[in-house]
Amino acid sequence: MLRRTVETHEPQAETVAGMAVPAWRLIMFVLGIIVLATIPFVLKNFFIFQITLALIYAIAILGLSLLTGFNGQFSLGHSAFYAIGAYTAAIMMDGFDINYVWTLPAAALVCFVFGFLFGLPALRLEGVYLALATFALAIAIPQVLKSSLVEHWTGGVQGISIIKPDAPFGLPLNSDQWLYVFTVLVAIVMYICAHNLVRSRTGRALIAIRDQPIAASAMGINVSLYKSLTFGVSALYTGVAGALGAIAISFVAPDSFTFQLAVALFVGLVVGGAASISGTLFGGLFVLFVPNIAETFSKGLAGAVYGVILLLVIYLMPTGAAGLVRLITGKLVRQGR
C-alpha cells in the first residue's frame, strides 16, 4: 500500500502498451460482444447449445460469486436455488401455459424470497458450518422434489418435459439460435446489474462485511440485513440461471440437481476467480467443457483426469483466471512505466 501511494504521487494513468487500462477494458468488452454476436451464425447447432449452457452456468456462478466472493459467505448448496428456479419455470410453462419469458422474473422472485429466508438462519453460521448447512440444502432438495408431498406439481422422479420456444416476431432463427440470443440478452442485463451492484455503496458494504465484519458494523452497516439480502440476491441470480437452464434443456428432473451440480458451480467460481465478475464467464466454460475434455483422454479414468486438470489449474492460478489476468496486467503496467 505504501509503495503505491508514493508511485501515484503525481497523477498518472495506468497504461498498458501506451493505452489506459479502462480503454483496454472497453476494447475487450466490445470484442466480447462481437464474438458473442457472431457465434450463432458460424457454429453448429449443438455447439451453440453448449455455449448457451456455459452462459447459463456463468450466470449461476455469478450468483455464487456475489455471495462467496464478495460477501464471504460459503455455499455448497447453490444447486438448490438452481433447482428451484428451474422447477418454477417448468411448472409455470407446463401447468399454467405461461410464456417462458415471464417465468424468469417469477423464478427470480421465488428464489430471492427463498434465499433470503435461508439466509436468516445462516447468519448464525460461519465458514465450515455454513458450508455444511448449505451442503445439507443441496442434498435435501432432490429428495424433497421426489417426495410424494409435491409429486403432483413436480412430476416426481420422472420430472417435467416442456416445449422449446421458437423465435418470436418471425425472426429467421431456429430454436437453438433463438435461445442463445435470448440467453445472451438476459446474461448482459444480469452482468451489468451485478457490475453496478458491486461498484455501488451496497457493494462496498458487502466487501467490507467480508473483510472486516466488526469494523463494518462499527461503520454503521447493518451486517445481518446485508448478509441475508446478499443470500437472496445470490439465489435470485442462480434461480434465473436455473429457469434459463430448464427452458434450454426443455426438461427438469430431480436428479439433474444433485450435489454434483453444487460442486461444479463452486469449482467454476474458484477457477474463475472468486471475487471477479468477468471470471465467472471462464468458470461457466470450465464447468461445461473440462469434464468433456477429460473424457476424451480416457473413458474409464475421466474423473481422475478431471481431478488432475483441476489441480493443475489451481497450481497455475491459485487466485483463479481473474487473478492471473490481474497479475499479467499488473506486470505490463509496471513495464510501461
Partner: protein, 292 residues
Amino acid sequence: MELFLHQVLAGLATGGIYACMALAVVMIYQAIDHLNFAQGEMAMFSTFIAWQLIQWGFPYWLAFGATIAISFAAGVAIERIVLKPLHNAPVLSHVVAFIALLAILNSAAGFIWDYTIKSFPSPFGAGPLFEQGLMSRHDAGMIGVTLLMLVLLYLFFRHTRIGLAMRAAAANPESARLAGIRVGWMTALGWGMAAAIGSVAGMLIAPVVFLEPNMMLSILLYGFAGAVVGGLTSPGGAVIGGFLVGIIENLAGTYIPVVGREMKLSIALCIIVAVLCVKPSGLFGRPVVTRV
C-alpha cells in the same frame, strides 16, 4: 416401546459407522483447520487396498495392520505432494483441491477394481450379539473399536510430546514455529493419522455397506454431520455426535410418517442445522474466540 428400543439400538449400530468417520473428520480438522471432502474417498481407497491384500492371501489382521501403515504413508504423501504447494493459496482453492482429490481417488478405484459390489469380511463374525438379535456382533465390535481409537487418540494428544506439538501447530502455527516445532511436518502427520483412522473406519464399515467406489459418499456426509453436531474441536463430541445422528436418522424414519426411507437424510440434516443455529460451535465444541 419395543419398537422404540429396537430403533435406538439400530441407530446406535449405524451411528457407530458415522462415529468412526466423524472421528477421522475431526482429526484432520484439528491438523489443517478445514473439512476434508476427500476423506471418504481416502477411506474407500484404503479399504480397497485391504481387500486386495486379503485377496492375495494375507490373514485379516495382517492386512488390517498393513493397510493402516500404507494409509498413513499415503496420507503424509498426499499432504506433501498435493497440498504443500498450495500453502499460501486462498481457502477456496484448498476446497477445490479436495474436490480434485475426491474425483481422482474415486475414478482410480473404479478403474483398478471396477464398480461391482464386493463383500468384505468382518473380524467379529456376522451373528447377533445377544439372543434377541437387536445388535450384530460386528456392530458391537465396530463400536468397541471406535471407542478404543478415541481413548488412544486422547492419550496420544494429552500425554505425548508429539501430540502436544501437533496441537500447538494447529492452534497457533506462528508461535509453534518459534518454539521449534516443524509445523509443516505436523500438518503432514495429521493427514497421515487422519488417513489411518479413515482406513480403520473404512474397513469396519465395508462389511455393513459393501465395498464399491461410491460407498463413502453418504457416509461421509453423516460423518460431517456427526462431527459438526458434536463440535469440530472435540474428538469425543464427534463420536457422540455420530451416534446421535444415527439414532435421529432411524427414529425420524420410523416415527415421522411423511419422511419414510428416502427423506431420512434430509430430516437428519435439518435437525443438525437446527442444532447449529442454537449452538453454533456444536454440542461439545469450544466457541471460537478471535481477537479483534
